[in-house]
């Protein structure tokens, strides 16, 4: 069996060389290499891992110097909650951020209050408080310095770790 395969390969190789040598210049050489044979499939007895929940937790945004959840963002939080409901084991860090309009020290606290505000809303929807931790980055991690898009900086992001 092994010998047969070897023979075949050699024959094929010789044939390829011959055809290439015998070919006039206009002959097109194959650009794609011959793919190696696929490795034999391993048959495993262990059951497949449980299907991973793919989180797609959307950020929410805030008005200047505010930490209230706006109606549109409440809808987003509901969507985030619907996902988290299926994964009660998840650990979620809520990160609060600010734009650079205010001042850095106060913004550090304001970012925290935004994170706490988002957490409180999710808990009110029914989430387990113990799945969340909160932190603020104040105005330290801007997503944009374009003044017309400063709202994008006034945000909460939701990061999942299991």
């Amino acid at each position: 069996m092994k010998t047969a395969a070897k023979l075949l390969t050699v024959t094929l190789g010789v044939f390829l060389v011959l055809t290439m040598v015998g070919c006039p210049k206009k002959c097109v050489t194959p650009t794609e290499p011959v793919p190696p044979p696929p490795p034999p499939e391993e048959i495993s007895e262990t059951p497949p891992a449980p299907p991973r929940v793919e989180f797609n937790l959307a950020p929410i945004y805030f008005d200047f110097d505010k930490s209230d959840i706006r109606p549109g963002d409440a809808t987003i939080l509901q969507g985030n909650y619907d996902q988290l409901k299926k994964a009660p084991y998840a650990r979620v860090t809520i990160e609060g951020y600010c734009d650079p309009i205010g001042t850095a020290e106060y913004n550090m606290a304001l970012g925290m209050r935004r994170a706490e505000s988002a957490k409180a809303y999710l808990v009110k929807l029914g989430a387990d408080m113990s799945m969340f931790s909160t932190i603020s980055y104040g105005e330290e991690k801007l997503v944009t310095t374009d003044r017309t898009k400063y709202e994008l900086n006034r945000r909460c992001e939701f990061k999942v770790s299991e």
Partner: protein
């Protein structure tokens, strides 16, 4: 102890023109600021504030004339230039101090009057109108070259003081030492020539490191290089350490950095934000804002983070504490009315009162080491943040800056100058100005400098 601020404000205006000529390479005068006319606060004319702040009349400023420093024939060019540089730094320090007015000899006669110790031309120097003559001579001693500094009283024609300074590689420090000793001798105040400004520098988008620079912009250096965000530095009154904030795995923590060893020690890593540390004037206590009990409150703790005492108790943000110089009161920011405003309370949390009422956003208070003023940042109707000063009763206040954003005020140890961060050049840099808003000067050029902290007087 209490020096008339009215007198000082008048002096600041008088000194401006002279300072303009003397700007060294380290100083860049603010482009978009009109320093002669600090923008008055909406309600309060400047004069009214200064009058309120000054019950008694002002001390008369001494006028100085500073002769060229002399070196003996045959002095090498390098030493000659060094002597000239030392004089330049001395003059810059004395002008910055706001304690003096300055006279120059009439043009043509410039510095031709004799400074010879044996036959000083009192009459010639007297014609300048100055009260004090400052002379410097390079002399060779067995221990090495020295600068002999001499001060003369031109009113009574006599030598007041003389002191020799050994020339060294640390020549800028030497000049600063001369300036501080002249100020100490001639005024009731101590100078701030030997002070530095620590700040948080953006190294890249993800990283801020602690840096330090002389008050006049020389000797810029980076203190830390461990990565991460290092924020809100504050000096220990000893000048040996800085408290600052940086992120732990899930919290914003307070560390102290020792300038001698270059080592940082974790001080507080309680849940949430451990932020805005502020050493008490005696260095035995740190006021801070902690969030581990639900929201940001003001606490006192020992410098090692232990022995916690809570001062505020409400559902609002309480942050950015700053001590009165006698250590009995703390000014801080609270948004308990719905918007951030500046408050004052006793160190035990009693006698709370609101200090700022104008505007919807007042933050970053800094209590002057003289005790009479509190600097803070006020958001303007036009959308920028500007630095103001108010008297400690909150009766009157005055805006000192205009134009782009001017934030993070902190005081020089003599309470006559304010360092702050401004983005007037495009990126944030550290600037200094007089407490009246005059003489705004750029100190850094690092494309991202924040949160200045003016050192106490340093011994080196």
């Amino acid at each position: 102890m209490r020096v008339s601020r009215l007198a000082v404000s008048k002096l600041a205006v008088g000194v401006l023109a002279a300072n303009y000529l003397l700007l060294t390479a380290n100083f860049v005068l603010a482009q978009d600021q009109p320093p002669l006319t600090p923008a008055p606060a909406v309600e309060v004319p400047a004069e009214e504030l200064w009058l309120k702040l000054t019950s008694s009349g002002g001390r008369k400023k001494l006028s100085l004339v500073i002769a060229d420093f002399k070196s003996p024939p045959g002095t090498d060019a390098q030493t000659f230039a060094r002597i000239r540089d030392i004089r330049s730094v001395l003059v810059a320090d004395l002008k910055f101090s706001l304690h003096f007015t300055f006279e120059e000899p009439e043009s043509g006669k410039a510095f031709s009057f004799s400074t010879d110790e044996k036959k000083l031309d009192y009459k010639g120097w007297g014609t300048t109108g100055a009260q004090i003559l400052v002379c410097g001579d390079l002399v060779s001693k067995r221990s090495g070259p020295q600068i002999q500094l001499r001060l003369y009283d031109l009113d009574v024609n006599r030598l007041i003081a003389t002191k020799a300074y050994g020339l060294s590689e640390q020549w800028r420090w030497l000049a600063h030492q001369m300036a501080d000793e002249v100020i100490k001798l001639l005024t009731p105040d101590d100078g701030v020539s030997r002070t530095r400004i620590a700040f948080s520098r953006a190294v890249n988008r993800e990283t801020k490191e602690l840096c330090i620079v002389d008050y006049d912009g020389a000797n810029m250096g980076q203190l830390t290089s461990s990565g991460g965000l290092k924020l809100f530095p504050d000096w220990a009154p000893s000048g040996a350490a800085l408290a600052y904030c940086t992120y732990g795995s899930s919290t914003l923590d307070i560390h102290t950095y020792a300038l001698g060893s270059g080592k940082s020690v974790l001080v507080s890593s309680r849940t949430g934000l451990n932020t805005t540390p502020a050493f008490s004037p005696d260095g035995r206590t740190v006021a801070t804002s902690l969030g581990f009990e639900g929201n940001q409150e003001i606490y006192l703790m020992d410098p090692n983070g232990k022995n916690l005492r809570r001062l505020t108790n409400n559902k609002s943000i309480d942050i950015s504490p700053s001590w009165s110089p006698n250590g009995r009161q703390i000014t801080f920011v609270s948004d308990r009315t719905g918007q951030p405003q500046v408050y004052v309370m006793n160190v035990d949390g009693t006698d709370l009162r609101r200090l700022t009422f104008e505007g919807s956003y007042n933050t970053s208070p800094a209590w002057s080491p003289r005790g009479d003023l509190i600097a803070f940042v006020q958001r303007q109707p036009g959308g920028t943040n500007q630095i103001c000063v108010t008297d400690i009763n909150g009766d009157t206040y005055m805006r000192l800056t205009s134009g782009m954003n001017n934030e993070d005020p902190c005081w020089s140890p003599d309470g006559l100058h304010i360092a702050f961060a401004s983005n007037r050049s495009g990126s944030f840099e550290i600037y200094t100005m007089d407490w009246t808003g005059a003489n705004q000067r750029r100190v850094t050029n690092v494309n991202g400098a924040y949160s200045p902290a003016w050192s106490p007087r340093l011994s080196r």
